[in-house]
C-alpha cells in the first residue's frame, strides 16, 4: 500500500481543522491568521489536484491578499457592545442544516458520473491555434476571453463601490491604513530587499504563464502584495484616489481588452476573435495591460476608501 492516501487524508484533515479554527475562533485576529494558513494549505491541495495555476492564484489572492485585507479590517474594527449572540435553538438548527448540505454534497461527490465528462480533449486539440503551451491560460485568454474581460469589469466595479463608501468630505483624498509603520525597523529592511525580487517574480509569473503555470492573475497579485509591503513598512503612502495616472492604470486592462475585442470585428468578423497567426502576440499585449491593472486594482481594494482630506 502506498503512503499517498495517508498523506492526502492528513492534509485534508488539516485543511478542515484550520477552516474550523477560522470559523469558531474566539478572536477576530486569530481567526484571520487561521484563514491565511488555511489558504496556503489549500494551495498545496491544488498542486495535488494537478492545478498549479489555481494553486498560485489561491496562494497569492485567496490566502495572501485576502488575508492582508482582513487583517487591515481587524485593525480598524471597533467592537460594538451589546451585540446579541444567536440563541442555542438557532445554532442547533443551523448545525443541522449545514450537516445536511455537507452530507448532500458528499453523496454527490461519491456518485459523480464515470467516465467523467471532460472538455480537456477539446481544449488540447485547439491549443495549437492559440500558440500557447498552457491550456489554462488558453482557456482564460482565448476560448473564454469574454469571462476574463467581464471579470476585470467586476474588479473595477468593486473598487468604485469601495471608494463610494468613503465619507463625502474626504472624496479625492488618500486612503489611510490607521496604523503608524515603524520607520527603519526590520520590516523596512525586509521590504527594501524583497520588493525588487517580488516585482521581478510577478513579471516572470505573468510572462511564463503562456506556456507554464503562472499567468496575469498570480503575477498581478504578487506585484500588488509588494505594493502593500511597501505601504506596511512605511516606504510609500497610498496614492490619492483622484490621481489620474492611477486611474489610467486601473482601466488600461479593460480598455486594451475591449479594443482588441472590437478589432476582432475588423480582422476576423467577430467580437474578441483573434486571427490565429497573431493570436499569441495579441494575448501577450492583453496580458501585459491586464497584469498592470490587476496589480493596481487589488492593491487599491486592500487599502480601501479615502480617509484623509486631499
Amino acid at each position: 500500500m502506498s503512503i499517498a492516501p495517508i498523506l492526502f487524508s492528513t492534509l485534508a484533515a488539516l485543511v478542515v481543522v484550520l477552516a474550523a479554527f477560522a470559523v469558531f475562533g474566539r478572536r477576530h485576529f486569530a481567526s484571520v491568521i487561521g484563514f491565511v494558513a488555511f489558504g496556503l494549505l489549500l494551495a498545496l491541495v491544488w498542486m495535488i489536484l494537478s492545478a498549479p495555476d489555481v494553486a498560485l492564484t489561491e496562494a497569492a489572492v485567496g490566502g495572501g491578499v485576502t488575508g492582508a485585507l482582513l487583517l487591515c479590517a481587524c485593525a480598524r474594527w471597533r467592537e460594538i457592545q451589546g451585540v446579541p449572540q444567536p440563541p442555542i435553538v438557532l445554532r442547533i438548527a443551523a448545525a443541522g442544516l449545514c450537516a445536511a448540505v455537507t452530507v448532500g454534497l458528499i453523496i454527490v461527490v461519491l456518485s459523480l458520473p464515470s467516465p467523467p465528462p471532460t472538455l480537456a480533449t477539446t481544449a488540447w486539440d485547439s491549443l495549437d491555434v492559440t500558440g500557447m503551451g498552457n491550456a489554462v491560460t488558453a482557456v482564460l485568454m482565448a476560448f473564454r476571453a469574454l469571462d476574463t474581460m467581464l471579470e476585470k469589469v467586476v474588479l473595477l466595479l468593486a473598487l468604485i463601490a469601495v471608494w463610494s463608501f468613503g465619507r463625502d468630505c474626504v472624496w479625492g483624498g488618500r486612503p489611510d491604513l490607521m496604523f503608524l509603520p515603524q520607520k527603519n525597523g526590520p520590516l523596512t529592511f525586509l521590504a527594501k530587499i524583497l520588493i525588487p525580487v517580488g516585482v521581478l517574480a510577478g513579471i516572470y509569473l505573468f510572462w511564463v504563464g503562456a506556456d507554464k503555470p503562472g499567468g496575469a492573475f498570480a503575477g498581478g497579485a504578487l506585484i500588488a502584495a509588494m505594493g502593500l509591503l511597501a505601504i506596511f513598512s512605511g516606504l510609500i503612502r497610498p496614492p490619492s484616489i483622484e490621481n489620474l495616472r492611477l486611474r489610467w492604470a486601473l482601466v488600461l486592462g479593460i480598455l486594451v481588452f475591449l479594443g482588441v475585442g472590437f478589432l476582432g470585428f475588423a480582422m476576423v468578423g467577430d467580437f474578441l476573435a483573434y486571427p490565429s497567426a497573431l493570436a499569441k502576440p495579441i494575448i501577450v499585449v492583453i496580458e501585459i495591460a491586464m497584469t498592470l491593472s490587476i496589480a493596481f486594482t487589488l492593491f487599491m481594494l486592500v487599502v480601501g476608501p479615502a480617509e484623509k482630506k486631499p
Binding site: 492526502f8 470559523v23 482582513l70 457592545q81 448545525a95 472538455l119
Partner: protein, 97 residues
C-alpha cells in the same frame, strides 16, 4: 484521491455556511463566506482532476473558472469589508452621541 478532497470540500462548505449563519459580526461572516467559497472551488478542482485525459492531467476549463472565481470572490470580500467598516464607524458615532 479525488474522493478524499471531494469530502474535504463538502465539509468546508458546511463549516463556512454554519459560520455565515451564526456569527453576529459582519467580519466573521465575510471570513466564513470565503471558506464556503473555497469549498465550492475545491469541488470544481475535484471535478477537473477527474476529467483528466492522456495529454492533460486535469480539465483546464473548470480550473480557469476557479481562477476567475477566486479573483471575483476577493473583490466581493473587499466590498463586504468596506461596507462593514463603514457601518462600524456609523454605529460608533451613534453610540458616542
Amino acid at each position: 484521491m479525488t474522493t478524499i478532497f471531494g469530502i474535504c470540500a463538502a465539509i468546508l462548505v458546511g463549516l463556512g455556511l454554519y459560520g455565515l449563519i451564526i456569527h453576529p459580526t459582519p467580519l466573521r461572516k465575510i471570513l466564513s463566506f470565503n471558506i464556503l467559497g473555497s469549498g465550492i472551488f475545491l469541488l470544481f478542482g475535484v471535478i477537473a482532476r477527474r476529467g483528466s485525459v492522456d495529454v492533460l492531467a486535469a480539465d483546464p476549463v473548470p480550473q480557469a473558472l476557479v481562477i476567475t472565481g477566486i479573483v471575483v470572490a476577493f473583490s466581493a470580500t473587499a466590498l463586504g469589508v468596506a461596507l462593514a467598516l463603514r457601518l462600524n464607524t456609523a454605529d460608533q458615532d451613534q453610540e458616542n452621541s
